[in-house]
């Protein structure tokens, strides 16, 4: 605050430092151990340094087709990301206007965030099971043989799984939108309107560029939360597992550093996404600074 730093600062700085070590220490450990030599085990010491376990991982993990799960998670993550961005953005815009039911909807969204994930997941699983039962019963009553023979379940990656993950990512997206628009200066829009912009033009050329960096942030949440999601997907994913769900099963069955290699790869994907998102945010901010205001600079 003022003057020289007191003892409190150094104690707190020490606490913060220890916390960061606590936060990153374990993660760094398994990244290190994934480069374990071919004879190395699950713990230290390192028995040489190699890419052996990555090579083994590349060949697959026994019965589990880990790369199929990897691709599934990647695709699902991208879909969740896009839907989270678009739906949060639309809803964020709606909440700036007055509409009946706004409060109720807000509470539902917050409730979705704090109801235990296992409860949500179970609810979705029950819902789809009841739908399946209903479809089968209907098919039998009305004699739709093709349906009753071919029908398995409505549960799946892009139905129940996608929905389950959206109940987790959308609240974050919407709350970020609220934070954005609480700080948004409406005068920019008014200026655009005064200059004759249509509603769409003022959104596309004024609002979106201003909130762009934060929208990237929503995308970051959407992808990474989906990429790592376990609790809500656990009961609702259907027959084909995502990568984190496979990983959860593998924690007890794989007893060599392959599991760390997989951990390193997963974490690598997360870090790449975070890095790209932060770069994009930086780039957009710089662009804003460049194009922000030409007041007093003459004609641009």
């Amino acid at each position: 605050m003022r003057g020289s730093r007191g003892a409190a600062f150094y104690w707190l700085a020490l606490l913060f430092g220890l916390f960061v070590v606590f936060l990153y220490g374990p993660m760094i450990t398994i990244i290190l151990l994934s480069f374990q030599g071919p004879d190395g085990g699950l713990t230290f010491p390192m028995n040489g340094v190699s890419l052996h376990w990555f090579a083994k991982l590349w060949e697959g993990l026994g019965v589990v087709d880990i790369w199929a799960a990897f691709r599934r998670s990647l695709r699902l993550g991208l879909v969740v990301m896009m839907l989270t961005v678009v739906l949060s953005l639309l809803a964020g815009l709606a909440f700036r206007k007055r509409f009946r039911g706004a409060n109720a909807l807000f509470y539902v969204v917050v409730a979705s965030l704090i109801v235990p994930s296992i409860v949500v997941s179970l609810g979705i699983a029950l819902e789809f099971r009841l739908v399946d039962d209903a479809v089968k019963a209907a098919a039998e009553t009305f004699g739709w043989t093709s349906v009753s023979e071919g029908y398995g379940t409505a549960m799946g990656l892009y139905t129940s799984g996608l929905g389950a993950q959206l109940t987790w990512t959308l609240p974050f997206g919407l709350l970020i939108m609220f934070a954005i628009f609480n700080r948004f200066d409406r005068r920019y829009e008014e200026a655009a309107r005064d200059l004759g912009a249509t509603a769409w033009q003022s959104f596309a050329h004024v609002v979106l560029p201003i909130i762009g960096p934060s929208v990237i942030g929503i995308g970051l949440f959407g992808f990474t939360l989906s990429w790592d999601e376990v609790a809500r997907s656990s009961q609702a994913i259907g027959d084909l597992n995502t990568l984190p769900l496979e990983l959860r099963g593998l924690t007890t069955t794989v007893t060599n550093p392959q599991i760390y290699a997989l951990g390193t790869v997963t974490t690598g994907v997360s870090f790449t996404v975070i890095f790209v998102a932060l770069l994009l945010i930086q780039a957009l901010r710089r662009r804003q600074a460049r194009h922000g205001s030409d007041a007093g600079k003459g004609m641009a």
Partner: protein, 319 residues
């Protein structure tokens, strides 16, 4: 939070149109609100289909009957009776359900306390002791980045450290501090708590940091000028004003830990009971009505805790 903005606005528009003839007013209201409704429709649909209806169905199915093959849509309280079987006639001996809840609540309380203390001081350091905004953002990001990585990986990454032949044990043995590896470091209450704190302290840091950043710095100057010591300022100014953040963070941590089954499973070596694990096991065994009943009970317990927390804050505010 936008409650204040959105709360008063619908009424205002209703008041405006109340004077006009009813049908006309309704039509105008509809056309005025139509764009907003259209924009919010997809999000609403997601929450209706994947949150509200599932919750309602969970409550419904918890009152259904079942056998080994299927669920039977007939009203019964069998699942609840079975869940609490022997809970009340054999007191003070605890039944399985009560034991499980006690164990879950114990984890919840410890993790809450530890994350609160760590989270509070980390947020306090970031918001009041870090002076440059760039450093502040950087350090804040350092705290948040693990949130965007896998919880499963972050959980299992403790195993090479805490395991029987893990880094801690082997180091301590080598140093001669202990002769036998410590057994309770892994697959124990300790490792579960450690891991939960590791995963969820962030949920405390972010809301508390957010509250603290809104505190008017001149209040601290005033406290200083009035002769308050550092601790007095912390206790009488910073903590009361950070309370919204503390409550939001607490709600996050408590609801997550109450429903957790993944971390307790992996770090407890599948030996420690938790409510979430019970539900998960029943789901795997396709016992849907008891799983639903347990979910309803868990939900009620969580809502009760949240209610108590929010009351705690409101009462303080009124004093």
């Amino acid at each position: 939070m936008p409650q204040t903005e959105t709360a008063s606005l619908p009424q205002a528009s209703e008041l405006l149109t109340a004077a006009a003839p009813a049908a006309d007013a309704r039509a105008r209201l509809l056309t005025r609100q139509a764009p907003a409704w259209l924009q919010v429709a997809p999000l609403t649909a997601v929450f209706v289909v994947f949150f509200l209806v599932p919750l309602a169905l969970t409550v419904m199915v918890s009152f259904w009957d079942y056998n080994e093959y299927e669920i039977l849509p007939a009203f019964t309280v069998r699942s609840y009776v079975e869940t609490f079987e022997g809970c009340f006639d054999r007191l003070p001996d605890l039944c399985v359900t009560l034991k499980t809840y006690l164990s879950t609540i114990k984890f919840c309380a410890i993790v809450w306390l530890v994350t609160l203390v760590i989270g509070f001081f980390v947020a306090y350091f970031l918001s009041f002791h870090v002076r440059s905004a760039t450093t502040q953002i950087t350090l804040f990001l350092v705290c948040t980045i693990p949130f965007w990585t896998s919880n499963i990986i972050r959980t299992i990454s403790w195993i090479p450290l805490l395991g029987r032949n893990g880094l801690f044990n082997s180091t301590l043995v080598k140093l001669g501090v202990i002769h036998e590896p410590i057994e309770w470091l892994i697959f124990s209450d300790f490792s579960v708590i450690m891991s939960l704190v590791h995963l969820y302290t962030l949920f405390m840091i972010v809301p508390i940091f957010n509250s603290m950043m809104r505190i008017d710095r001149s209040l601290l100057e005033a406290a200083y000028d009035a002769g308050a010591s550092g601790w007095q300022t912390l206790w009488n100014v910073v903590i009361p004003l950070s309370k919204p953040g503390i409550v939001i963070g607490s709600i996050f941590v408590i609801t997550i830990v109450m429903g957790d089954f993944v971390t307790v499973g992996v770090m407890g070596g599948q030996q420690i009971a938790s409510v979430g694990k019970v539900i998960n096991t029943q789901m795997t065994a396709l016992q849907f009505p008891p799983a639903a009943a347990n979910s309803v009970i868990l939900l009620i317990a969580v809502l009760f805790i949240i209610w108590a927390l929010t009351r705690l804050v409101d009462i303080r505010k009124e004093l």
